[in-house]
Subunit: 185 residues, 2 copies
DNA sequence: GCCTCATGGCTATGAAGGTTAGCCATAGCT
DNA sequence: AGCTATGGCTAACCTTCATAGCCATGAGGC
């Protein structure tokens, strides 16, 4: 009975690979167990259960997103930064639709997700701070931005825009719309 | 063994009541069966299974939404119509968060949902047509509007806006942003 | 080099849920 | 009154999550 040498991180890795390949609905402990070469109950030695596996995945995904944003935003400011943030978010959702769908809508409500969620939120706030927005105005504008990027990415990743018109064009229109709504710098 | 006098419509009614009360995740054939006073397998006499029950619910929900929109929009046009559409959508999602969450993102991909989805889409297009938008421009702008209202409503209905700032204010900012992006009439 | 014991596997088991098969009483029609 | 389609039912099966409890591994101390 040789050991598989599993770890919590390895289980999360396998789960992420699984949803990338077969979609979020395919995330089942049995499938993760098969992929890691272990019986399903053995996963409980590394992970508290399906629910906890989902939150661990969400943390990883939010960290990955935050990292992508910060990498894409270095040296940028103003409208350029806003547009880059929106395009980077969209690209991530296209590349990893299942991961995008796994992002919880209310990360701040779960202590295990709160800090990763707060760091992600901070990226949005930082971009708008470069626009002179602070306090309540920054919160309202961040919410608008979040609603826009989340809404577009969710629908696109789900294949919800059925008609043949070009989606890049639609997205650029959305980028212009949001930037035009910001205060003149 | 007296008959319960069930029908497909009655099963869908019970399912809608159930998700209204206990959330979308509580939608289970066992729960619907209990609520209708019948054993779970008996539901199969009226409904093809859980998946079909979900699409039947989605059809009902989209029809209900279309009806609300048309009722709210009579006699309105231009910016007033756009704002009314956005506010009506938001109100529906607040009143019925589970129903809103049950709306499929890609209704046009399922033949059973296509016509209800197309009627709903037509409301959006009609509102923008009053703005002189037609053809590809109307499609792009409808997509923007859909992304905005869907994104905001999804996050709000899920309790995703954690901070205490007033959400009405945020939504009105979003309404102004979208209307400002439309061509001058 | 051996012992100990925490660790990480395993099998067995059970509870929920979806689904199918097949039976039978009811109710409506002739 | 009798036939038959219909709409209930029970029994059974499969999948999945989860728990319990067993046992081999293997690292650290002696």
């Amino acid at each position: 009975m040789p050991r598989a040498g599993l770890s919590t991180a390895a289980v999360v890795d396998a789960a992420l690979d699984l949803v990338d390949e077969r979609g979020l609905d395919a995330l089942t402990l049995a499938a993760v167990a098969e992929r890691t070469g272990v019986a399903a109950p053995s996963l409980y030695k590394h992970v508290g259960g399906l629910a906890q596996l989902r939150t661990l995945m969400a943390v990883r995904i939010m960290e990955e997103l935050t990292e992508r944003f910060t990498a894409a935003l270095v040296g940028r400011g103003g409208a350029d930064a806003v547009a880059t943030l929106m395009r980077t978010y969209r690209r991530y959702a296209i590349e990893h639709p299942a991961r995008h769908a796994a992002i919880p809508p209310d990360p701040l409500h779960d202590p295990a997700l709160a800090s990763a969620g707060a760091r992600l939120l901070e990226v949005f706030l930082a971009v708008l701070r470069g626009y002179g927005l602070e306090g309540a105005a920054a919160i309202h504008t961040t919410r608008c931005l979040r609603a826009i990027v989340h809404g577009f990415a969710s629908i696109e990743a789900a294949g919800g825009f059925g008609l043949p018109e070009d989606l890049d064009t639609t997205h650029e229109q959305l980028v212009r719309m949001f930037i035009a709504s910001l205060p003149r710098t």
